[in-house]
């Protein structure tokens, strides 16, 4: 059973992300800020990372904490053309522009999770 860390400052959005993935038996960790994310960073099998956080830019956080601990999916209100390349360069495995359907999220998460999980 995979553990997913959701790094997103909007509480309702964290809820909706969990609900979108509710058909799978994932466990969730949640962080509303970069500081909270830092404490949980290495405990997850996959990280959903909002690129706009109240205390730090999501990509800066990623560069600080490293992208090797778990696959990271970037979430952003900006188009993939605007921020996608930078996110991939920083080590994200996928980029989702908000809003996205539950099916899109689920497919991306399934595709990104290591097969063993």
């Amino acid at each position: 059973m995979a553990t997913i860390l959701i790094v997103e400052d909007e509480e309702d959005l964290r809820l909706l992300l969990r609900l979108s993935l509710s058909s799978e038996p994932y466990t969730f960790l949640e962080a509303a800020t970069g500081a909270e994310a830092a404490a949980l960073w290495s405990n997850a099998d996959l990280i959903l990372l909002d690129l706009r956080l109240p205390d730090i830019d999501g990509l800066d956080l990623l560069r600080e904490l490293g992208s090797s601990v778990a696959p990271i999916i970037a979430l952003s209100g900006y188009s993939a053309e605007q921020l996608g390349p930078e996110a991939m360069e920083a080590g994200c495995v996928a980029y989702l522009r908000k809003p996205f359907t539950a099916a899109e999220l689920l497919d991306t998460v399934r595709g990104a999770l290591p097969a063993a999980s």
Binding site: D9, E10, E11, D12, L13, L15, L16, L19, S20, S22, S23, A32, T33, P54, G77, K98, P99, F100, T101, A102, A103
Partner: protein, 370 residues
């Protein structure tokens, strides 16, 4: 008689000639005063002698005592921001080469280091052979205009972000609701998120509207907002505001207001003042929130206090400005205190803030007694 008449004629012609310097002097003074009133300066560069003349107001715009500018082209250029000097020089050269005109926006640097924005319009005067004789024009200090344009741009950007955030969550909720693979119970949770975010969006739009409608520099008549002020029982308004959004379990609210205290206000808007302040105290302050009031001469002074961490020092200068503080998620729009400030002005009152001792926040409101 004819001699007298002739003499009179001659005298009046003489008067006109004798008055010419005086008239010129008067016109010059008028022109200087007009420049001072309208905050624009004028300049002339005599191309034959390379002497530059500046009006008194242009000196002032550049932060100089009138008459102290070294009257050369190079001295003038050196007064501009280093990054703008080439552009200013190129515009002048082009205007002279074309025997035409120039229009530019450039930054100047005052002797004390202050940078200001100038809109400068110039024209080349030619002699009868068509050769450039002088380059002259006017310059207007547009720093304040640029500041307000900048403020407006930032305001619109902040408003777009503030509206966009709940809108994005609403869309995300709609996608979850539309997904038949999501369990009914989970879809009810999504419905809750949708309702909360719709409410947030709605509140935000009302606050944005109020902020514009209550702007004392922009008459609200066109927006149809009129506020009828009258005596309003204070304790009622505070209690209603508290009842509309009850404090969280870990917050204790104390209201200590004598029943006979009334203030000059509009009842619904007064309630909104306290709704914003109580919400603010709960989110940023707590756990003990109190509202107390006392009468002082013709005024009523109301203190809204909490014993939370208080407003961080760096936020104090802009505390009542819209979107001044970046808040955590879902903690209001960033407009509450700005709206309260505008409402208090509309009541003819005022609001101020100071840190409470030993810690916490204290907002003090002054009303006219009703």
């Amino acid at each position: 008689m004819s001699e007298v008449a002739g003499g009179t004629q001659k005298d009046s012609r003489h008067d006109v000639e004798a008055d010419a310097p005086a008239r010129l002097h008067r016109l010059e003074r008028q022109f200087a005063e007009i420049q001072r009133l309208a905050h624009f300066g004028s300049w002339e560069w005599d191309l034959a002698t390379d002497v530059v003349t500046w009006s008194d107001e242009l000196h002032r715009i550049f932060g100089l005592e009138p008459g102290t500018l070294e009257p050369t082209y190079d001295a003038v250029i050196s007064r501009y921001h280093p990054d703008d000097r080439d552009m200013v020089a190129a515009a002048a050269q082009r205007a002279i080469a074309d025997r035409g005109s120039s229009a530019l926006y450039a930054r100047l640097v005052r002797p004390d280091g202050e940078v200001r924005w100038l809109h400068s319009l110039g024209r080349v005067l030619v002699d009868e052979r068509g050769e450039p004789q002088s380059f002259f024009g006017v310059a207007i200090d547009i720093t304040e205009r640029r500041r307000s344009e900048q403020f407006l741009r930032e305001f619109i950007g902040n408003a777009a972000h503030a509206l966009g955030t709940p809108a994005a969550v609403i869309l995300q909720a709609a996608y979850v609701l539309a997904d038949s693979t999501v369990a009914i119970a989970d879809r009810e949770l999504a419905m809750g998120a949708l309702t909360r975010q719709s409410t947030r969006l709605h509140d935000l739009s009302i606050n944005l509207f109020d902020l514009v409608a209550l702007d004392k520099d922009a008459p609200s008549v066109m927006l149809g907002l009129s506020m009828l002020l009258g005596p309003v029982p204070l304790a009622d308004a505070v209690r209603k505001a508290a009842a509309a959004s009850p404090p969280a379990d870990d917050v204790t609210l104390t209201i200590d207001i004598a029943a006979d205290i009334a203030v000059l206000a509009e009842p619904n808007e007064l309630e909104r003042v306290f709704a914003h302040l109580l919400a603010n105290a709960q989110v940023h302050g707590g756990p003990n929130v109190s509202v107390t009031a006392r009468r002082m001469a013709d005024e009523v002074i109301v203190d809204v206090r909490d014993d939370g961490p208080g407003v961080p020092h760096e936020h104090l200068p802009d505390l009542f400005a819209p979107f001044a503080t970046r808040r955590g998620a879902g903690q209001g729009s960033g407009l509450g205190l700005a709206v309260v400030h505008r409402l208090m002005e509309a009541f003819g009152g005022a609001i101020s803030y100071r840190g409470a001792e030993p810690h916490g926040s204290q907002f003090t409101l002054r009303f006219s007694a009703g």
